[in-house]
């Protein structure tokens, strides 16, 4: 009876749902009453991981629906609206179809390496969620080198992609894999540099620490380092293979890139991980540059994870928007944009961050005065850098104006028409116009 009383006590008590960590604390305290300490930490760790897994699955299904619906609206269509209310069950129907489909493998494929990637691709896709803080104490692992962990884990995905592309024994897949490797290696540099700016300025490599720094200083990093935010956004969308940088699975060129030969649920897994990565990267963009779970005191009233989800949704919408609007760049253009524009720009901002951090720490400047000044300076610097790029570093043909002129009454135009009509002369045409 005491157990039951305790349980009703627990249920009756107002456990603050602003912080889901309270739930974990409850379990920890309960285990600590009768068990050893290590059991409590293991159980909470496993529970955290299971929680992430339990959240990701349904979220992916909803995301597929959201993405298809939003893209449809961009394209003047309805999108899925047949299965279930508002088409919400369409992703479920698709998943069932994919699971039931035959799993084909090319005869010439390297079977073991061909079968592994759809499973392995899930590992970085899940691990990366571990360091995303949903609230002040709400991350599965609040590592003190969280930023490093994030970059290291996301870097391993490219190995799996190359395995998929190479083992398929298909030229499209190989091209896709080669492009993916080249892109990942290149775009990781501006990504690292953009995050280095934040690490240098806030003095912590913990993801939650960066959010807490933004909370303490009452500023979000997109205002302080806008160019780093833009560079990170672009580099992330390139790493995620999304338009305008989806060259590694460019549909009109190399069919489906590295996963051309995967059928059924194997393809479905690649697709799901891609969407999940898009979501988690949106979450990290929101965390690093938009203040994460913190929003000028609103996090006192609204659950912090809802704030993070709203910000993540905004970034995700931006990613869908660019995908629905822009054409794709060519691989050499993407490479030159990375190395000639993003890397120097982010490097410049690392230096700027060093200088400003030194001014704050060594010179002891007052942050309430110094930070707004720095923000204005950095925004001006960003605009200047973008304008410099637009004027100087753009590829040459873009600067030439493109125009169409009207042939009017030139030869081949009306005059020739009259000539032919009167049958006096054969029409002749002049080469090159004017």
């Amino acid at each position: 009876m005491t157990d039951l009383a305790q349980l009703s006590n627990v249920l009756g008590a107002w456990y603050d749902f602003r912080d889901l960590n309270n739930l974990q604390r409850l379990i920890t305290e309960w285990i600590a009453e009768w068990g050893p300490d290590w059991l409590a930490s293991i159980v909470t760790g496993v529970l955290g991981a299971l929680g992430i897994l339990a959240v990701i699955g349904p979220t992916l299904l909803i995301l597929i629906w959201v993405e298809r619906k939003v893209i449809s609206r961009f394209q003047q269509r309805y999108g899925p609206n047949r299965v279930g209310p508002k088409g919400l069950l369409q992703p479920v129907a698709d998943a069932v179809k994919l699971i039931l489909k035959e799993q084909l493998a090319p005869r010439a494929a390297d079977k073991l390496i061909f079968f592994l990637p759809p499973v392995l691709i899930f590992v970085p896709g899940i691990l990366i969620w571990g360091v995303l803080p949903f609230g002040p104490r709400m991350s599965v692992a609040d590592l003190n080198v969280g930023v490093l962990f994030l970059l290291a884990v996301s870097g391993t995905a490219v190995l799996v992609i190359f395995m998929a592309g190479w083992s398929s024994n298909n030229k499209y897949a190989l091209f896709g894999a080669m492009r993916a490797v080249a892109m990942s290696i290149s775009y990781e540099v501006p990504m690292v540099l953009a995050l280095l700016t934040l690490v240098v300025f806030s003095g912590t490599m913990s993801v939650n620490g960066i959010v807490e720094w933004q909370q303490q200083e009452d500023v979000i990093f997109i205002l302080l380092f806008p160019l780093s935010a833009i560079a990170f956004f672009f580099a992330a969308s390139a790493e995620l293979n999304r338009t305008p940088a989806d060259i590694s699975e460019a549909e009109s060129e190399i069919v489906a890139g590295y996963h051309t030969e995967y059928s059924g649920m194997r393809f479905g897994l690649f697709y799901a991980v891609e969407l999940g990565n898009t979501l988690v990267v949106s979450g990290f963009i929101a965390t690093f540059f938009l203040g994460g779970w913190w929003l000028w005191g609103l996090d006192q009233w609204v659950p912090s994870w809802i704030i993070l989800l709203v910000k993540t949704g905004a970034v995700y919408f931006l990613l869908i928007w660019t995908r629905g609007t822009l054409p794709r760049l060519r691989i050499d253009q993407l490479m030159s944009f990375c190395w000639k524009a993003l890397v120097p720009a982010t490097l410049l901002f690392v230096v700027v961050a060093f200088v400003e951090r030194t001014l704050l720490i060594s010179e002891g400047w007052d942050t309430t005065v110094a930070l707004p000044i720095m923000a204005v300076f950095n925004i001006a610097l960003t605009l200047g850098a973008i304008m410099l790029f637009a004027r100087v570093a753009r590829p040459a043909p873009l600067r030439r104006p493109a125009r169409i002129r009207m042939a009017g009454t030139e030869i081949g135009g009306l005059r020739a028409a009259r000539q032919v009509a009167s049958r006096t002369e054969e029409p002749q045409f002049q080469v090159g116009g004017d």
Binding site: E251, I254, G324, L329, A407, G412, G413, P427, G432
Partner: protein, 394 residues
Amino acid sequence: MTTADDARLGIQEDSHLAMQGTIEALTTGDGSEPVVVNLGPQHPSTHGVFRLKVTLDGEIVQDAEMRIGYLHRSMEKLAEERTYTQNIPFTDRIDYLAAMSNNLAYCLAAEELLGIKVPPRAQAIRVMFAELQRVASHAMANGTFINDCGAWHTPLFYMFRDRERVLDMFEMTCGARLTTNYMRIGGVAFDLPDELLPTLESFLADMPDRIADYEALLMENEILHARARGVGVISPEMAINSSLSGPVLRATGVPWDLRKANPYCGYENYEFDVPVGEQGDCFDRFLVRMAEVKQSLKILRQVIDNLPDGPWLADVPLHARPEPGEAYARVESPRGELGFYLVSDGGPAPYRFHCRPPSLINLTALKEMSIGGTLADAIVTLGSIDIVVGEIDR
């Protein structure tokens, strides 16, 4: 690694030599070997069953070979077994994205062979539908071109709205949307329905805004510029020597438009301009098509304002037997010069039925345009030529 693999890679018994053998088998002198990649016959970018075999050095196209014939339906031979009127539906299926233009070209050739004079109302209706077809076809061409540049179908779906409206007008006039079978020898099959002209009026009223939308989205789009400008360039001389026509030729700066150069159906009475490009690259082809849509709307406006009354079909026997002889008629289809060559031996069916398809002849320049560019450039160039495989293979 199996023995078969060893043999394939040229691996010797001796391990030291084996390593050398492997490297030599996989590489040539400069450390690389060209890769042959098939784009098609089933491929997202080939707009039908067309196969482009490219030899790639890395991403650079060294050679491009076009393989056609996957959609061959032997229409020219079949047409020799059918009467002149029965052949009209074949022309729908030659260029299924510009059926009206194909109907028109064939009927012009048959009329020339039979010596038939077409009533003025039929002439005006023919011009109206040929220009509507141009609007629809260019919408499709530009949309798929942007798609080949990698846009995720959005411009295509926007342009499809306009095409749908045109196809609705086709449907209300002749009951079919794609394979219209509307033109007849001596005129058109049906008079305009009452509801067509108001629909066309509202279409003409809406289109300038739509085109302004597309221009705002696409004309200054940096990525589109980066992808299409300076890509797939062909010189005016080469274009003329390759016998190119249509927007592909005009994009190089050659002002050649059959509606001006050899007017038919009374095109000499309408006021319109021929837009020409400057560079002869993919972007110019796109711009020329956009400008041509505007000119087509201008012609449509004039057609509505001066639509004559009277019969819409001349008195032509259903199974006409023309005198022995030959005739060639050509029109400016959305893709270029579309010609039909008919030979009569005095019988009810043509002795020879030949089509000069602009898609096939424009496609011959693809190799010239794509060598030296990247694989992605070749795809964009193919999209900018605007081929219809039904017309290439017939």
